[in-house]
């Protein structure tokens, strides 16, 4: 089928997935018999029983679950995503979400850049020097990244680069948080807006704060990327056309980069969709450890409070991002490999 037919089919699937996701989250957070009560986020210990009753009725938590879902759906189509609980000062859920979303995006983008910048060369080295020392070393590094507890690595980075560095009198990186948004919102991403506004001190400050969390995030996923690149490079290097290229007398470097790499990256790119989901998921703990004001940190609090409105926004947005990312990856695949025609 044609390319646009394929895309439309996938987008329809996206809508279905979004419905399913919303139903699952809705039921788990509001209808599930055990666990945190759906109104827990909106009350505090000093409320009287009547006040609690009033809160329950105001939010409609006393109505049957499918009625609640219907009202929620109706509100959503009108742009009202409901209010968050006390933990976020009761502001509208989508406002809280989109205030913090740019920070998570920024972190994920830099994390992805670092992952690709380190992971791809690591995989290539592993493949070229297969079963020799550089291969073993880079595989251990890659796997170590994959096996590192996210909560541990972040702290170690902070310990070394902030605490010990300052103890030893070395210039150090900030340990956590991010500077307040000091420039006008154009794109929405702090660093880029800073660049556009010409506020270089802000950009530099933000960048310094970004280094450790992005590195922490990328360290964990670069192992995954490196092993995919390695596997597909190994596969490609055994192909006949590589022998042919060598028989032409081409320099080995040309053989690797012009002939092998393009073929090898195709499967690596397709698997990027999956590992992007992993990065998004991993960002949550990294944000927690570094007190990075992103959406993951908020989501963590929301889970502990049982805030269904916020979590619905969170999950729906991320589901969209993941499905779209997979779609983009598939389309890119079609462009990279001239043999693929949808």
């Amino acid at each position: 089928m044609k390319l646009y037919e394929y895309i439309i089919r996938r987008l329809i699937l996206l809508v279905f997935v979004l419905f399913a996701v919303s139903v699952v989250i809705f039921y788990l957070l509001r209808g599930f018999p055990t666990g945190i009560a759906p109104w827990a986020a909106y009350i505090h210990p000093r409320m009287t029983a009547e006040q609690i009753e009033a809160v329950i009725r105001a939010h409609g938590f006393d109505r049957p679950i499918w009625e609640q879902y219907f009202y929620w759906l109706r509100d959503v189509f009108n742009g009202d995503w409901g209010l968050t609980g006390i933990w976020a000062q009761g502001r509208p859920a989508n406002e809280v979400f989109f205030n913090h979303f740019p920070y998570t995006v920024e972190l994920s983008v830099f994390g992805t850049i670092l992952t690709i910048a380190i992971g791809v060369p690591l995989g290539i080295i592993s493949a070229i020097k297969n079963n020799k020392l550089p291969d073993h070393v880079s595989r251990v590094i890659a796997l170590a990244g994959y096996s590192t507890p996210a909560y541990w690595f972040g702290f170690i980075l902070q310990l070394v680069f902030f605490y010990y560095f300052s103890l030893w009198g070395l210039p150090h990186l900030p340990s956590s948080g991010a500077p307040d948004f000091a420039v006008a919102k154009i794109i929405g991403l702090p660093i880029f807006d800073g660049l556009l506004a010409g506020n270089l001190t802000y950009v530099w400050d933000e960048f310094l704060h970004l280094i450790l969390p992005s590195f922490s995030l990328s360290f964990i996923s670069l192992g995954f990327l490196a092993r995919i690149v390695r596997a597909s490079m190994l596969e490609v290097l055994r192909q006949d056309y590589i022998t042919m290229a060598r028989s032409k007398g081409l320099k080995e470097r040309v053989v690797i980069y012009r002939h092998a790499l393009k073929n090898a990256l195709i499967p690596a790119v397709t698997l990027t969709g999956i590992f992007f989901a992993a990065i998004l998921g991993g960002a949550m703990i990294t944000e927690y450890v570094f007190s990075w004001p992103g959406v993951g940190q908020q989501a963590l609090r929301a889970v502990f409070q049982g805030d269904s409105n916020f979590l619905l926004v969170y999950n729906l947005v991320f589901a969209t991002v993941i499905v779209l990312a997979n779609l983009v990856v598939d389309v890119i695949y079609a462009f990279l490999d001239p043999r693929i025609k949808y």
């Binding site: 997935v17 788990l28 170590a144 909560y151 702290f155 949550m284 991320f318």
Partner: protein, 319 residues
């Protein structure tokens, strides 16, 4: 007829044995896999012996009750090096030097880590195998039967894949309650979809192979074909995935504990032990450092085995 089929079966097993011997040969040739295996075996032995070497009651210090969540604690490295934030609930008994320091209650961290290893390994095994079995069976049956059931299962896994993995686990964990059993259930629910995809791909391609048609012609029942033949031929990638997943499961399990889902604050579990040091990274880094390091080594060891196994069992890289 009888002797012929047993001969055939013997031939089948001989072929499988030769194949396994070749696998072992490749296994031994690879230094990374070997070191991974040795370290994993070390930890497994440690896990089995842990409750004998260390008294499990040390995890629950005197005067400690499950219901009380201590909020003032003592952290110590050795007797002479004590950081005091107020009266602690547990008091150490007698002068000791702690090789890895202590945690907030004055428990010897080394002993706690040793106690934590069997718990982590045990639950990771249950979760991984549970997810693998569940996902594989579902995927195999759906792939084999095809039709509506297959489509439906695919859509369901699509939905699961749309969640960032940790979030789903958190939501399940938050809603199911805070016992270890529910935690296991939450993680199994998060981990089974990849197996469906994996086995389905294999089953679909095996289904088209001529030997399946031949077996049908011989009168074999569907379940026999599926379980004795198709599934057995697809087992290698599942095995690899299980060993690779083990590292990931153990990390997620302890991450959940770290975030606060443990049933009891005193439970010796690596993530739980690490969470104790959350507010005190700079003054008492050992509380986070050592449990996390142990977690890294265990996970790395199993991942080395899984990764090496993946290379060894790859049919295209075998001679």
């Amino acid at each position: 007829m009888q002797s012929r089929s047993s001969e055939v079966r013997k031939g089948e097993w001989e072929a499988r044995l030769a194949d396994m011997k070749y696998t072992l040969y490749l296994f031994r040739k690879n230094p990374l896999v070997m070191s991974g295996t040795i370290i994993s075996l070390f930890f497994i032995t440690l896990a089995l012996l842990a409750n004998i070497i260390v008294d499990p009651n040390l995890a629950y210090p005197e005067g400690y009750s499950n219901a009380i969540y201590p909020f003032e604690r003592k952290y110590m490295w050795s007797v002479d090096n004590m950081i005091n934030w107020g009266p602690g609930i547990a008091l150490y008994h007698g002068p000791e030097f702690f090789y890895l320091g202590t945690d907030g209650w004055g428990r010897d961290l080394l002993k706690m880590v040793v106690l934590a290893i069997p718990i982590d390994l045990y639950y990771a095994v249950i979760i991984t195998i549970g997810a693998a079995v569940f996902g594989t069976l579902l995927g195999a049956i759906a792939g084999y039967i095809g039709g509506v059931m297959d489509e439906a299962l695919l859509r369901i896994t699509d939905v699961f894949f749309a969640f960032p993995p940790l979030v789903l686990a958190l939501v399940f964990a938050a809603m199911f309650g805070r016992t270890l059993e529910t935690l296991v259930l939450s993680l199994v629910l998060v981990w089974w979809p990849p197996y469906v995809r994996l086995i389905r791909g294999q089953v679909l391609s095996e289904k088209e192979k001529p030997y399946v048609e031949a077996l049908r012609a011989l009168g074999a029942s569907h379940s026999r074909i599926l379980f004795r033949h198709v599934l057995l031929n697809s087992i290698y990638p599942i095995l690899v995935q299980v060993t690779m997943d083990f590292g990931g499961v153990i990390l997620t399990f302890s991450a959940l504990m770290f975030l606060g889902f443990s049933p009891s604050p005193a439970l010796p579990e690596l993530g739980n032990l690490a969470s104790d040091g959350y507010g005190h990274v700079f003054d008492a880094p050992w509380v986070i450092f050592f449990p996390g390091l142990t977690m890294l080594i265990i996970s790395l060891a199993f991942n080395l085995v899984g990764d090496g196994l993946r290379d060894i069992l790859d049919p295209r890289l075998r001679r």
